[in-house]
């Protein structure tokens, strides 16, 4: 699992599948997923789990669903206080 070697500043709370987690404001949401141990995020067409791979917006393997239904790359979504995101892997409809 990933761990931080740096103190967090400007701490906010984000919700992953409705569970609260502390994050640094402006930090990519994919970082928080990995720091909290969510290495699998969505399901590939072959039914296998996938997780963040490139962390810079090119691989599209960190897809998450935001509260308003938008599907976004977790590495291109930045932490703000109170945002809620859902992992497609854990959704019955597997909308992604």
């Amino acid at each position: 699992m990933f761990r931080r070697v740096k103190p967090q500043d400007d701490t906010v709370t984000i919700y992953i599948d409705d569970k609260p987690f502390l994050a640094t404001a402006g930090e990519p949401v994919a970082n928080i997923l990995l720091n909290e141990g969510f290495s699998s995020v969505h399901t590939a067409p072959n039914g296998k789990p996938r997780g963040p791979y490139c962390m810079m917006g090119v691989c599209f393997d960190c897809m998450i669903t935001l509260q308003d239904g938008r599907v976004e790359q977790a590495c291109q979504t930045y932490a703000e206080d109170g945002i809620r995101l859902y992992l497609p892997l854990n959704r019955a409809d597997r909308a992604v």
Partner: protein, 464 residues
């Protein structure tokens, strides 16, 4: 800040090339807009530098090359340009409209000149098991260091190249336990490497730095040189790495985190979608946009700077950004343009080390296409080497025809993670030249776009 509807110059990307160009353009009073997909300037190389500087001692492990980005970011803080962060460009039209999305809304601006400075991405490394959760690129591991100061203990690093050694070194500096380093570069330099090392001596500091990183890695980690036949094991997540060492013995290292890397290539999706002319770079094994020495592309008024025009590193990127900006300033102000010989010499010196690095870390053919039939080639569509080869065997002339046979390259990443592999697989089957086989045809928008996002554009147009 109010965004205008047109600018003298729109710069795409706030890495070293984009920042240097914006500083130069600002000095000459060009109305400039900088679009970048991150929340702060720096690009991938100086990523998150503005925030990290606030607690510099806590991020000291990133090293001096990273902190050298401070100068550009400081200069950029004073430019007159408009800056839109978290903006993702998805189309440039031939009449230089730039279309992008920001916070779920599409927008467009008109530009007298466009400078594409969107940099590089890591070359796909399609080895068996590379899609397993727990496997990430080395660049991704480095991004975690820069954006969160976080890393994973007990990781195995597989690959080679400057970014590879730098990141392992940063991991060691930061105090993370590195389980093993599986180096895929040849264990011994070949005669041609020694020949190319001669011009590289013009860059002694870079050479010494690389040697120092490698020496530290050899000393401090379980280091395996000249590894071949690397496979990542696991069912639903990575459990270990197997490979063959130089003595031909099979080795197996258990690990939950595996970081892989085999060099970087220009991120050409935007320049390809803009219909700029590209050419195959046989030494760097990638496509580069055709430009003149100032970065002007085959389309009038569209320029390219930085690693997006061929891999040369951050210092060269900043120089190419300044050069392109100078050319654009002359164009906008209708002034004659003279290239500063000093910059030209600097750029030439920067390039001197590339042939050596390109050849030493050139991915061998059997790394560009996986050995195992079950290895995934197209991540988005989860197509294996066998799937793709079955379609190729039906007879295809190139990657575009292959799309309609098996969907390879039609997923969300729009070929970024598979196009180079597919091109090589067709080349292996059909023969001929790789340049002739060509890349996937990339069309705008270069990122998925919702109807809702587009609707914002219609509102905006109606309001004008």
């Amino acid at each position: 800040m109010s965004v205008r509807s047109d600018y003298d110059l729109v710069i795409i990307g706030a890495g070293p090339a984009g920042l240097a160009a914006a500083i130069e353009a600002s000095r000459h009073d060009l109305s400039t807009l900088v679009l970048d997909d991150q929340p702060a300037p720096g690009g991938q190389v100086y990523r998150n530098i503005t925030r990290n500087r606030g607690q510099r001692h806590a991020s000291a492990f990133l090293g001096n090359d990273y902190w050298s980005g401070s100068r550009l970011v400081d200069g950029f803080a004073h430019v007159s340009a408009n800056v839109l962060t978290e903006s993702r460009v998805w189309q440039i039209t031939s009449d230089r409209q730039v279309l992008f999305s920001r916070h779920g809304k599409a927008q467009n601006v008109r530009a007298g000149a466009v400078l594409v400075a969107n940099g590089a991405m890591e070359r796909p490394m399609p080895i068996a098991g590379w899609t397993l959760p727990g496997v990430m690129s080395v660049g991704a591991a480095q991004t975690m260091l820069k954006t969160s100061g976080s890393g994973a203990d007990g990781a195995v690093f597989v690959g080679s190249g400057p970014l590879f050694y730098l990141t392992v070194w940063q991991y060691l500096q930061a105090g993370f336990g590195v389980k093993a380093v599986v180096d895929t570069a040849p264990a011994r330099m070949r005669p041609e490497h020694y020949v190319l090392a001669i011009p590289a001596l013009l860059q002694p500091i870079l050479l010494l730095k690389g040697l120092r990183w490698r020496a530290a890695i050899r000393r401090k980690t379980d280091y395996h040189a000249g590894a071949t036949s690397v496979v990542i094991a696991g069912e639903d997540s990575a459990t270990g790495v197997t490979f063959q060492d130089t003595s031909g013995r099979k080795q197996n290292i258990p690990a939950k985190h595996v970081f892989i890397h085999q060099g970087v290539v220009p991120n050409v999706n935007l320049t390809m979608a803009t219909d700029l002319r590209h050419q195959w770079h046989p030494r760097q094994l990638c496509w580069i946009p055709q430009t003149d020495m100032f970065g002007e592309s085959s389309v009038d008024g569209i320029f390219i700077a930085g690693d997006g025009m061929g891999i040369a590193g951050a210092t060269a990127a900043a120089l190419s950004g300044r050069l392109a900006a100078r050319r654009i300033i002359a164009r906008v102000k209708r002034r004659p343009f003279f290239m500063t010989p000093f910059w030209r010499a600097l750029k030439w010196r920067q390039a001197a080390i590339r042939p050596f690095l390109d050849s030493l870390f050139k991915p061998p053919d059997d790394w560009r296409v996986p050995k195992e039939d079950h290895a995934i080639v197209c991540r988005c569509e989860a197509l294996t080497k066998a799937d793709v080869n079955a379609a190729i065997a039906l007879g295809v002339s190139g990657p575009n025809q292959l799309k309609s046979y098996c969907r390879a390259g039609m997923g969300r990443c729009q070929g970024r993670m598979c196009a180079l592999t597919i091109q090589k697989m067709i080349h292996n089957h059909n023969g001929g030249s790789e340049e002739e086989i060509g890349y996937l045809r990339i069309r705008p928008p270069i990122r998925p776009l919702t109807v809702g996002e587009l609707a914002a554009l219609a509102h905006e147009d109606a309001g004008r």
